[in-house]
Structures are given as C-alpha cells and as structure tokens.
C-alpha cells in the first residue's frame, strides 16, 4: 500500500522528495554509464514487468492475498540502477493514476526504490559474497535480501512517520505493527523472488545482472562424453549460458520463454 497525501507533514515530504530526486538522478547517471542507449527500452519494459507483477496476487494466510513489491527482484534481474529507475517510474505513474499521494511520491520512492531496490541490491551483493560461488547461491541471496528489505522499507516508513507523522500514534505500536506485518510480507516476497530468480537462472542466466560476476568467473570446460552437450543446443544467443547449467532445463526453458510474439 502506498502512502497517501497528508499522512506525513509537508516539510518531511519535501525533504524526502529531495532525497528521492537526488537518488533517482544518481541512478539515471549510473545506469547511463552502464548501458547508455539501452536504458530507455530496458528500464521501460522492466517497469512494465514490475507493474504487471504487482497485479499478480499471491495468497498469504487466511484468505488474504498480497502482491509483490518487486524491488529486490528488479534489482537482481536488471541491476540496482535500472531497477531503481523502473520502480520509481512505476510509483510515479501510479501516483498520477491515483494510487499513492502526489505529495507523498518522494516518500514512496525513498522507501521502495531507494531502500527497496538499491538497498536491497546492496544486501544481495553482501549475502552473495558470503555464500559459495555457485549458481543456486544467487536465488538464495535474493531470498535473504528480499526477506530483510521488506521490513527495512517498512522501517524507512517508520522513520518518516516519526519525523513528520500527522497522527499521534505511540511510536512503539507503529514499529511493532509495521514490522510484524512486513516480516510476514517479507516471507512471501522472499519465496516468490527466489523462485522467480532461480527460474531465470536456469533459463537465461545471462539476463540475471546479479549473477554477472559468477558467470564471468566460470570458464568453458571440456567434459567427458557422458555429460557432453548434444550438438546443436548450445549455440546462438545462449552462448553466454553455454556450458553452465544442465542442458535439459536450459533447452526446454528457452523454448518456453521464446514462444512470445514480437
């Protein structure tokens, strides 16, 4: 749920608006350094993907359902900078289309794009470094990052609320309620983020930004005939993926994934 207008007072909203502008501006700069002319289409499609993914409700407990926040997912898949831009644009469009307050946009971007995507990616990179350098670690690290990032974003909201909340709720109660709920949401987010990342890892590992270093570190190797790749499978666009993962999943997955129309 996004923060609506008037929940946090005007000076605090303006201050966090400045934070959001600075953060997103920096992300635009860094993303441009990485993939100058690809930024627009990729971030745009990634934003469309996050927008769609947020509409996918998954069941939580007792008949209620929640939806994905997608910060860590986007950051792990397309990188922290593009991911943050995508989330910020999603929030901006949603606020223009009447979801989340216009004056609270800075707060929402700070919580979900800066803390959620940039902070989430930092956590992800940290956890990945601690885990063994193998492909399954990517999904595990993204799960841990998602699990922690969701309560962290809730924590950012609590800070904003403490600075400029317009309601005299006891802060301890707000902290308890927000963290309690968001730990639960974080579990769902972690499960779905990890499952999504591991699917992409098994199908197109070259698309997972967070696995770049891992893949670069791997070298092509000649395997004994029993494990050899049948000819005609590893070529073409899957070159970066070649020789990495079990070929059966790779082949079927690619067929499933490339059945889309232009």
């Amino acid at each position: 749920m996004h923060i609506p207008d008037g929940f946090v007072d005007a000076p605090t909203s303006a201050a966090f608006g400045a934070v959001a502008v600075a953060g997103v501006g920096y992300a635009v700069k860094r993303a441009g350094d990485e993939a100058s002319d690809q930024v627009v289409p990729l971030a745009g499609l990634c934003a469309a993907f996050v927008f769609a993914a947020q509409m996918l409700n998954f069941p939580v407990a007792m008949g209620t359902s929640g939806h994905l926040l997608g910060g860590v997912l986007a950051a792990v898949l397309v990188g922290p900078w593009l991911g943050a831009i995508a989330i910020a644009v999603v929030l901006g469009v949603q606020s223009l289309f009447a979801d989340g307050g216009l004056t609270a946009l800075g707060l929402n971007i700070t919580n979900m794009a800066l803390v959620g995507a940039l902070g989430g990616y930092a956590l992800f990179a940290l956890v990945l470094r601690l885990l063994p350098a193998r492909a399954p670690s990517v999904a595990a690290a993204s799960a841990v990052a998602a699990l922690i990032t969701v309560p962290l974003a809730a924590g950012a909201f609590v800070i904003e609320f403490a600075l400029g909340g317009t309601v005299d709720l006891p802060l301890g109660g707000v902290v308890g309620a927000m963290l309690g709920v968001h730990v639960l949401i974080g579990i769902g987010e972690a499960v779905i983020t990890a499952a999504t990342v591991s699917l992409v890892m098994s199908t197109r590992p070259d698309l997972v930004y967070g696995a770049r270093d891992l893949l670069d570190a791997r070298r092509l190797e000649i395997r004994p005939p029993a494990a050899a790749v049948p000819t005609g499978h590893g070529g073409g666009t899957g070159a970066a993926a070649g020789g990495l993962e079990p070929t059966a999943t790779s082949v079927t997955g690619r067929r499933a994934a490339s059945g889309s129309e232009a």
Binding site: P4, D9, L42, A48, L56, F58, G188, R204, A257, S260
Partner: protein, 260 residues
C-alpha cells in the same frame, strides 16, 4: 484490481478541463494538492470548501459521480486504518454513541481521510481529463528529465501488452487445473513470473533493435508539437492554486485565532 482503469484512466470528453494543456493541469493539480496537505486538520470548514472546489472541478469535467467514487475505492484499506485511530490514539476521551473515543484520534482520523480523499479526487480529475500521452508531453514541457519521461512512456505503452501476456499465462495455468489457494501455489506463480520477465526483457531487446534500425541514437525525438498554452490557460491554472492557497491560509489563520 481494476487493471483497465489503472492503465487508461482517461475519460473522453470535450469539457474545458479536457481542452486545457496538460502542463497547466499538472501544475494546478500539484499546487492544489500541496494546499490541501497544508490545511490544518482542525479547520473542518476549510475541507468543506476544498471538497466544494474539487467537486466543482469534477462537475466541470463532466465526470460521472460513479466513476469518481469507484476510483476512490483505492483508498479503502487506508480508511479502515483511519477508522481504527479513534480507538488507539491516546488523549482526552469523548462519548460518541456510548463508546469512549479519543478526541485527538477522531480529529486526526478525519484529517487523514479528508486530505487523502481530496488529494486523490484532484488527481482523478487530472487523470480522467488528460490522456496518458499528453500527460507525458506535459511533464516533458515542465522540464522533467527526458530519460524518466521516455522510460515512463515505454512503461505505459508496454504495460498493457505485458499484462495481457500475464493474463494468457493465467488462462494456461488454470486450464491445467491450477488453483492458487495456498503458499504451495507460489511455485507455479513464480515460474510464470520468471517467464514473464524473460519475455519482457527479450521484448525490450527486440524493441531496442527495432529502434536502432529506425535511427535511434539514444535520444527520443522531441515532444509532439502542440500549441504553447495561452496566458489565460496558465491564469486558470494559477487561479485554482490561489484558491486552494487562500482556503489553506484562511483555515490556518482562523484556526490560530480560535482558542485551541
């Protein structure tokens, strides 16, 4: 979730507000929402005045009341939160229908709902009278960084396609007897999501190549040509903001004058 209206909240019409250039409407909307947020919650009448102004805007744009009410439903979870406030906010108690409620809690709940609703209504008027494409042009004219505008325009253009694709995948899942009832169903949903990401990304790559083939060099061609807003149109936008500011200032002044 009302996917259709989230993507295309435009309500075609020929009213004055529909004809106003987007940049004027964006400035007026933002300014007015800021005024609403700055109005002190203790000045109840000021919110009545705001409601009259925003209601007048809805009428001016000839928006059906049902449409506005349906779109206001977005804030229902938030209203539920506000309803709980009088019970949990500490402070002086007052008797309402035999239940002891907190007086500051009641005031704050009112302020919260009033501000959120008015802000939302103002944005609903903007979104219902301005096609998404014009909104983006307006933002660009207001010196929004072109990268952000371009990303947003891509998102709006392709979100429909991506959502349709998701819908087709959902049909495919259900026709294979998939019923999402428990957390176990997450696996299938996540697999769909992963596939959806790959398809979106590959579409992004294809679109990028198509753009390169048409001479894209990293900058989108300039905004659509349109007449610059006339002075009277900027004046109309300013009038709205001044009206909002007047209500906010009056509310604040009268509020300070009254014994707290």
């Amino acid at each position: 979730m009302g996917g259709a209206h989230v993507l295309d909240p435009y309500h075609p019409g020929g009213s004055v507000l529909h004809r106003l250039p987007a940049q004027c409407k964006i400035v007026a909307t933002f300014g007015y929402v800021v005024c609403v947020v700055l109005t002190p919650i203790t000045a109840g009448w000021a919110f009545g005045a705001h409601l009259a102004v925003v209601g007048g805007l809805c009428a001016l744009a000839r928006l059906p009341p049902g449409l506005v009410l349906r779109r206001l439903a977005v804030e229902l979870p938030f209203v539920a939160f506000a309803v709980a406030l009088p019970f949990v906010v500490p402070g002086e108690r007052t008797e309402v229908l035999g239940v002891a409620l907190s007086r500051p809690g009641l005031e704050q709940a009112f302020g919260l709902v009033a501000r959120a609703t008015l802000g939302l209504m103002t944005v609903i008027v903007l979104a219902a009278t301005t096609p998404a494409r014009e909104l983006l042009v307006g933002l660009e004219r207001l010196r929004m960084p072109p990268v952000i505008v371009a990303v947003a325009s891509f998102m709006i253009r392709y979100a429909g396609i991506v959502i349709d694709q998701m819908g087709r995948m959902s049909v495919a899942r259900r026709s294979r007897a998939h019923e999402p009832r428990s957390l176990l169903a997450t696996r299938a949903l996540a697999a769909s999501l992963g596939t959806l990401f790959i398809r979106s990304y590959e579409r992004g790559e294809r679109v990028h190549l198509a753009m390169l083939a048409r001479g894209y060099t990293g900058a989108l061609p300039g905004a659509l040509p349109g007449p610059a807003p006339r002075r009277a149109q900027w004046g109309a936008a300013l009038c709205l903001v001044i009206l909002g500011a007047a209500i906010a200032v009056l509310g604040r002044r009268l509020d300070l004058g009254a014994p707290a």
